[in-house]
Symmetry: C2
Subunit: 580 residues, 2 copies
């Protein structure tokens, strides 16, 4: 993982590839690499779909090694949704396979000279770019079917669906999972539109003949990994909670807390929550003879295994087990309490290549505008189908929740920096509100998952209904997250390392024994801070100010039932989140 | 004109009116008043369609007097299109009549408690607010017909069409002209959406029994007005040019200069320009037995008389003589060279209550996206019809050019601060590019009309193709404009006062003899600077930075034919425009 593949899609005669060493980027991976490259090479005021934007796809520092949980891959660019810097990351097989092929990053740059669609194929012999207009406007599932028919089913695919080709601001980049299905997505901020703007439909990775990346001190590395896995298995969330019901275990928990955004963030509890909870989902999956939960990771080397598979009543595969945020977005947020409808919407999102959070939020705003009734699952399916077809309604929805609000004159639009809020109301869980408001990414729970400490009692306890301590909590979580997102580690490891100092040490030992460095906990903090500073500077140059680090005004004024709370963290504290 | 009428539309039991004195706002009018009120009373980060935004409608300082050309009225708010402060101004009868009724401003505030639609009626006996759901979703023409049937045809009406009720970001507020037709609009920035968000469909003004406003020194005022009118008649632009062919006299002039944006700002000359020029328009109007040009002002007291009336081939009234920017927006920008199509589109815009510039630009971007062919007038009519109906396509277009670009993944979107550029390409006329980039309003030619000096030789000469001297020119014009927009004077007077010191002095004499003040030319400059500073501060607090004071990147890179020039004014000079 010591080289970078650059593809200039604007070269005369078709895309031109260049392989370079890491140069100034040596030692970086994942988010640290994507954000550093974007900040260094992309003019902050450029058009996100123009020649000057770049798309950087980078496995984490430990991806491709035998370290457990190291299968996350980062995608960076200037976001078509927010206008700021973006790192969206994904599970699936891409990180491990790309890393084993020796690439620290693939960078797509330039602007296509015509509308030819290309695919990239990389194996042990190198990389090729091949024109393939037969893939045009195919869904991710059909695209992957065609690619595996051609390249075999052992490959890992990185693809965009029609949404990416249409350059919709809610378009994702799909990464195939262990079953070579396009179920894992770099979901947020429209990264798929940037890939679409480069005219690249698919990147196919075949690591046959390649080996796991070798640690500089293999014995220490093995020992550290053993401690690491033991630590993850020991913690109640990573060892049991997530495995038992998947991320959707949160539906009942968050609903109980009163922070479950319902009917476009109108209230904090959904009376249909039990119908779509992780418990109900597992029961349904088991009834239908599926694998249920607790059985399934999204990439090789996962020991948390939070995923599963969703089958319909006839036992046919529909989609992977929908994540909590997806169940919320298409469920409670739209008043829908039917898991079959939600799974269908999840499948459509995955196939079109759309962010489930943004789409659920967009449909929620459309429902508030009267385009459909809250709770009408059939209407939601029809609306999402329009996005796949690129009808005018589909274009509005695919432009995201903020665009729907603008087109329909809706005041209640739950976005920050133009990106929709996920499945936690910031009034009833104020810590996540600080993260939504201040992260460089636009509203994003994964940027500093204050739910851990506000609700789950991980990493301490902070009263979710009160502003006290939230800014400091979010600051620390955002720093830790930026570092974790650089390692290639799944963010769920945070539960264990927040609570168990020896597990955090095992992670540091993994990093050091792999690279030969001698990082301390302080160095990890410094890495996270450096990433955040780089991103903040890009955003400032792109025109972001503290006015962008705010929740929508209505959340400071309109109380959320059942606790009847408003967001109360003072602006002055929000402005201190990055002051360390 | 010593009182303010405030209407709190959110009061329990329906809108509640309060009349107050001018208080701290004493002496202000027009843009100086609207921008001061917005800056003082509206939180910069509020939602433009929410309870905290206000709509301020204010005649100019000299409106309602016998001073010639004093019939402009300013509308201020936080803009739903740009997110910044907005002053959109209009001709028509509103300014004179409202001023004679004694009101310096009407301020709509709060948020409606339900969806009842209201009209406001003001005459010598005071103001009333009346629920009238029979007006719902009527076009401006039908609305005015209903209102004149009820209140007589001597009234002045201020109304919104369906676009305003739908809260579309391109919605205008219409002001009736001397024939009580809704042909004059506060067009830019979505002010109509803010009026719609307040649930007010119409304001009807009847000044029967009211007198002209009296000057403090009537004799001096009369003498000053005589010199004023003489000065306007003496200048070739205000005395002849505008009267002969209306504003559309510019089509041939700008096309000849190579700065006529054609096919969504793709090239700088349109081969159909002659077909839609002011000369062709006058000929067509005369052929059809209309009044032609040179016959028509938009308000009482106009001596420039740049307007006319457009009739169809059967002699039926269609619309007022379309302005140059409208002819360009729906004409050359969309490749359409048919005046009947353009007039029909103008009529539809006026009826739905839409900004002709924003709609032409939006349709141009949609054409670039392949939604329709450039030059297809029928398609343009059908697209605009969708806006009136509020279909999804109509919602996209009515959200403005930037929204169309986002929904269709188009890079070439000619906007600044989210507002579409008007009829002058900033590459071939670099002075107007400085104004587009830096004005507080989003791209707006009227904020500092550098065409005067770059092309028309008014106020000196600056090479339009060169960056030199453009920042200073735009600065001076923006300052002067902010002051003129506060007086209630039509901006076209600027041609005369830029070239003729005695005419500028006549304007100062008008102001002084009316109010009893003793302003100098420096005081006028100071007023303009103060207005701009107030607006800049609001925008900064709303999150605007110098990154927002930029043209789209492509205009710095892609040369415009026939001169093959890019926009070359350095960023550093743009950042000095407000440094005086």
């Amino acid at each position: 993982m010591d080289k970078i593949l650059r593809i200039d899609v604007g070269a005369a005669g078709g895309p031109k590839m260049t392989e370079t060493s890491m140069g100034d980027y040596a030692g970086l991976g994942g988010r640290a690499l994507t954000s550093t490259v974007i900040a260094a090479e992309v003019p902050p005021c450029c058009h996100p779909l123009g020649a000057d934007n770049k798309l950087v796809i980078a496995p984490g520092m430990l991806s491709g090694t035998k370290a457990a949980m190291s299968g996350r891959i980062s995608v960076g660019c200037k976001s078509p949704l927010t206008g700021g810097i973006k790192e969206a990351n994904s599970g699936g097989q891409g990180a491990q396979v790309l890393a084993r092929l020796g690439y620290a990053a693939i960078i797509l740059e330039g602007a296509p000279v015509d509308d030819t669609l290309y695919k990239v194929f990389i194996n042990k012999d190198g990389a090729k770019v091949i024109a393939d207009n037969s893939l045009k406007m195919l869904g991710n599932y059909d695209t992957v079917d065609k690619l595996t028919a051609e390249y075999g089913d052992k490959v890992a695919c990185i693809t965009i669906g029609p949404a990416g080709e249409m350059k919709l601001p809610a378009a994702t980049i799909a990464f195939t999972d262990m079953e070579t299905r396009p179920t894992r997505h770099a979901g947020r901020g429209g990264v798929g539109a940037v890939m679409g703007s480069k005219g690249i439909k698919a990147i196919v990775l075949d690591d046959a003949g390649m080996k796991m990346r070798e640690a500089s001190d293999p014995e220490k590395f093995s020992a550290a990994n053993k401690a690491w896995v033991a630590g993850l298995k020991k913690h109640p969330v990573t060892g049991e909670g997530l495995g038992a019901y998947g991320t959707n275990v949160l539906t009942n928990v968050i609903n109980e807390s009163g922070g479950y955004p319902t009917h476009n963030f109108k209230t904090g509890q959904f009376d249909g929550a039990a119908d779509i909870s992780g418990e109900s989902l597992a029961e349904l999956e088991n009834t239908r003879g599926g694998e249920g939960s607790a059985t399934h990771g999204c990439h090789r080397g996962c020991v948390i295994r939070c995923s599963g598979t969703f089958y319909d009543a006839d036992g046919n595969y529909v989609t992977k087990q929908p994540e909590y945020e997806t169940v919320w977005a298409h469920g409670g947020n739209c008043g829908i309490n039917d898991l079959d409808v939600i799974a269908r919407l999840d499948r459509m999102d995955d196939d079109f290549g759309l962010d489930t959070i943004e789409m659920g939020a967009a449909i929620g705003v459309a429902m508030e505008a009267g385009v459909a009734e809250f709770g009408d699952g059939e209407a939601a399916i029809n609306l999402l189908a329009e996005v796949g077809k690129g009808t005018p309604m589909g274009r509005i929805l695919g432009s995201g929740a903020a665009a729907v609000g603008k087109a329909y004159g809706v005041e209640h639009v739950p976005v920050v920096k133009g990106q929709a809020m996920p499945a936690y109301d910031p009034r009833a869980i104020q810590g996540i509100g600080v993260t939504y408001a201040t992260t460089t990414m636009g509203a994003d729970h994964t940027a500093g998952y204050a739910i851990a400490t506000n609700i789950l009692g991980v990493g301490g306890n902070v009263d979710p209904l009160k502003p006290e301590g939230q800014a400091e909590l979010s600051r620390n979580l955002q720093i830790a997250t930026a570092a974790i997102d650089s390692t290639g580690m799944c963010l769920f490891i945070a539960f264990a390392i927040l609570d168990q100092p020896d597990t955090f040490q095992a992670l540091i030992d993994l990093l050091n024994s792999f690279s030969g460095a001698s990082l301390t906990a302080d160095d990890v903090t410094a890495l996270g801070q450096k990433v955040l500073t780089t991103e903040r500077e890009f955003n400032a140059a792109a025109g972001f100010t503290k006015a962008d680090d705010r929740l929508p005004e209505y959340m400071k004024k309109e109380p959320l039932a059942p606790h009847n709370v408003v967001f109360e963290v003072p602006d002055e504290e929000l402005d201190q989140v990055f002051n360390w």
